[in-house]
Symmetry: none
Subunit: 223 residues, 2 copies
DNA sequence: GGCGACATCGCATCATGATGTGAGGACGGC
DNA sequence: GCCGTCCTCACATCATGATGCGATGTCGCC
């Protein structure tokens, strides 16, 4: 009944080391669930491609930090001017706080190390595409350290509301800006079922439209 | 009873939900490589134990955020006054930015969600004890967002998009969950004018519906 | 004295969302 | 076996949103 619409993750690769790039290309080509959308050895050509591309042409970008000419960090900034919600995974051998911070501020969603195993790397790509932000343990620690230094604010706790697994998935879809239909396709369920979830969602969140639901979801980290 | 070498990770548990605590105790007791050092239902008794404890008596602390009386966050702060290098894993159902930030500032090394699987949880405990900082995908995302906002972007700035005064007002209305009509009334302008603003807003934000617009607005603090 | 950016309004059209009502199957607890 | 919750789907209807095309008036500006 349902057409075999492959939910393959289309990856754009920007990496100057030819050998490393080739190995990543091979990995992506041979990993079920992944597809190489494009591959570049420098930021300039990659940006040219992005300038002409549609948002639907790729799901996630692997960006090397150390590139000849324009750096991967600068390129990420440029890329996100055009596609503000693009998922970018920085790939590097360095773990320096300054570099990490710059990458994050430029809009990187994940910060992966080149020594990461292939299996782990694919998992992290998935995670990034799903809105997560995978980081290696060391990077995570650095990030927390930076955050601690920069901020200093106390907090409070609210009341809880438990959303069903499905409800959460639907909410996540809305937060991503999907329409009912897209959410339905995404979860492989009926259009009407999505409506049903949204109804109960609205009751639980005490709202009457997507906007308010999304606001609560994002502000309170419900998803 | 007393073995010569002890490679087991000794865990102190602070969790008020008796059932959940019991299940964690069971998990730790039955997982090779882990050992329950102590277990408490509230922060006060836990702190009393820590006050009398030696640093080598435990390796990592699992701290629930929502505790009766003193919160897990406050307790973490106290604990780290005595043991500044103690590894604390916050455990919670919430992913609110404020809570996360407070926990991190209090000295938490990891931020785990209660819905995490047992297997994953043990891996994260190991990671924390090893100096890592495991975070769930959603938490990681929030952390990066906080970091971006706090550290006034150095090198490459994330493409500044300047919204008009009116556009911002309209966006704020949407974030509040108002309908076009309500926004119009609120700003004392015509329904059609609101539409016009939203059109340009969508172009600037590169989205095609309220949900996505609101997500960007809230996440990036545009309003 | 036209040019560009902003704020304002109107109309039209098609797509999507909001809500009501109803209902069947799966599963776990009592 | 019955009850409650969750997941699933359908049909109906009205309200609202998404987008395209245009238009007027005010500023500040070179």
């Amino acid at each position: 009944m349902t057409e075999p619409a492959e939910p393959r993750l289309r990856v754009v690769l920007v990496e100057d080391d030819a050998r490393y790039r080739a190995s990543l290309e091979t990995l992506l080509d041979n990993s079920p669930g992944f597809a190489l959308a494009a591959s570049f050895g420098d930021a300039e050509r990659a940006l040219a491609w992005f300038a002409a591309a549609e948002r639907f042409a790729f799901d996630v970008v692997i960006m090397d930090v150390e590139l000849p000419g324009m750096s991967g960090i600068a390129a990420t900034g440029k890329l996100r001017e055009r596609f503000p919600d693009a998922a970018v995974a920085m790939l590097t051998v360095f773990e320096e706080p300054k570099t990490i911070l710059a990458a994050i501020c430029a809009g990187a969603s994940g910060y992966m190390l080149k020594r990461t195993s292939a299996r782990e790397l694919l998992a992290q790509l998935r995670s990034i595409a799903d809105g997560g932000s995978p980081m290696s343990a060391g990077v995570a620690r650095t990030v927390l350290e930076l955050l601690r230094r920069g901020h200093a604010t106390p907090a409070s706790a609210p009341g809880r509301l438990d959303l069903t697994e499905r409800e959460q998935q639907v909410l996540r879809g809305l937060v991503r800006g999907l329409s009912y239909k897209q959410v339905a396709d995404d979860l492989a369920i009926s259009h009407d079922t999505v409506r049903t979830y949204i109804r109960t969602l609205y009751k639980k969140l005490q709202v009457h439209n997507v906007a308010a639901a999304v606001t609560r979801a994002v502000r309170e980290g419900l998803v």
